[in-house]
Amino acid sequence: MSAQTKSKASPAGFISSRRWLLWSGIAALCAWVLVPIYLVALGALGGRQGVYQWPKTGLPTGVSLDPFILFLRTEGVLQSFLNSLGAAGITVALSILLGAPAGYALARYNFHGKDSYRLLVLLTRAFPLAILALPLTVSFIKLGLYDTIIGVGLIHTVLALPFAALVTQGIFMGVPRELEEAAWVFGCTRAQAFFKIVAPLALPGIVATAVFAFVISWNEVFAASVLTVRNRTLTAYLLTVLSESPMHYRFAGGLMLILPSVVFIFAVRRYLFAIWGISSK
């Protein structure tokens, strides 16, 4: 690792020691994030022999896609993958459909109860929300939602909705109010102005919010495990088979959990940075 940081930090050769320190620190922190992911990928692709190989080298020897494909063919894996997608899809749809209008209202209107609403949203952040799945099992059994993907999607929406409302508020505030008013002047109704002017401008930010809602649902373990028995999501499935599955299956499961959300976040990284306000000014 030190050799890697050195080569990265001295392209010109006369960079001051301060500069060198900064870049080696940055490289070390990047390695801290990336190396473990690389290693679990090796574990997932190394199969049974790879797991018991001793000592390990950290180099990709004996790596092939077969162990990972074998894992995908294991009974229940593909179904749970689809269940995860379904629950995440419901979460995305509901949290945007319910959260975006609230975000718009918060951004554009002054109304009685605005502060109470914001308090309600902030309150959800102070609670370990997944725990709400415990009493909901009882209600969901009565309603026929227990052990369904819809039920899991509903509880994941509780996790994602407050986030969606707060973030879309910021997005709509970023759309200049003057553009909307100009549209009214030119004879658009409020709804027309919204769909023709505001919505297209806000779309990238809303897509980024949707991706984040997807990731919240995709990664959630506790509620999904409590609310399902046969229709498990990928996280819930992995949690229940964890203790009896061989090591390389666990690593394959870990890699499969990581890949989709990392790819998704990568795809919308620019908009995510923009809505968090961390992009370069």
Binding site: L22, I26, L29, V33, L39, V40, V51, Y52, Q53, W54, P55, K56, T57, G58, L97, L98, G99, P101, A102, A105, L106, N110, F111, Y117, L120, L122, T124, R125, A126, P128, L129, A130, I131, L132, L134, P135, V138, L154, V158, A165, V215, N219, V221, F222, V226, L239, L242, M247, R250, G254, I258, V262, I265, L272, F273, W276, G277, I278, S280, K281
Partner: protein
Amino acid sequence: MTKNRSWIPYLLILPSVAFLALLFIVPLLQTIWLAFSDNGVPSPANAQRMMADINFARSIKNTFLLTIAVVPVQLAIALVMGTMVAKVGRGRETILWVWTIPLGISDLAAGLVWLSILQNSGYFNSLLLGLGILERQASWLSYQTPVALFFAIAVAEIWRGTAIVMVIIVAGLNQVPREFKEAAEIFGAGPWTRFWRITLPLIRPALQSALILRTVLAFEVFAVVYALGGRNFPVLVGEAYNWQNQNQNYGVAAAYAVLIMIISLAATLIYLKAIKVDPERLP
């Protein structure tokens, strides 16, 4: 702002209010009732049963120790990341993206990632062997090595959870006007003084949000523990899960849930009091 047609904002927030009322407020009250009732009558039986459980004290101790170990380290790393990235021109976005990768990684996956490193024939032992520190495979994750297991879980949590703190801190740092720092520099303040006297006070709202969010999440720690140590390291949420799924006892599970809620709420209130923030600047 717009005063006519004042029903519009209510129409817009109504769906989310109804949803949160049904799936947040109602289950919250149900959990509290479930925890403090027995066969439909108010009773402390569940709470008593929870407290008599052999894992109760250990799970409280473990959860608190983890939180105390993990949250300050995450805050420190996030501050280091924020100060570093502020000095970078080109390549800033790429570095930020690499550092936010763990945001997409679940606690379960993070546990499995570190399992691949820390298991007996894993990369950590291989490294120690290569350095001549170890002679044969050592086990770090068994019930016989509680201290090593604690550190393994803490490392996995720090690895996974620092990204969200970093995002909030960097956003906060972005809002600090450059002129403040320049003025301090002109008046002779060194980097440390500038950091403690200028930067930290100005990013208070970000610090507060980050601390509240991370502490609440740390009290919820569960899957990373389960992936690394199975049931060798009891934590509060893990106990709630076991009482619900293995023992099928919803009452005791709810008692654990209420306990976690009380602890989280208390921590939130402490942060709100300790780090005073101008209410206008709350997120």
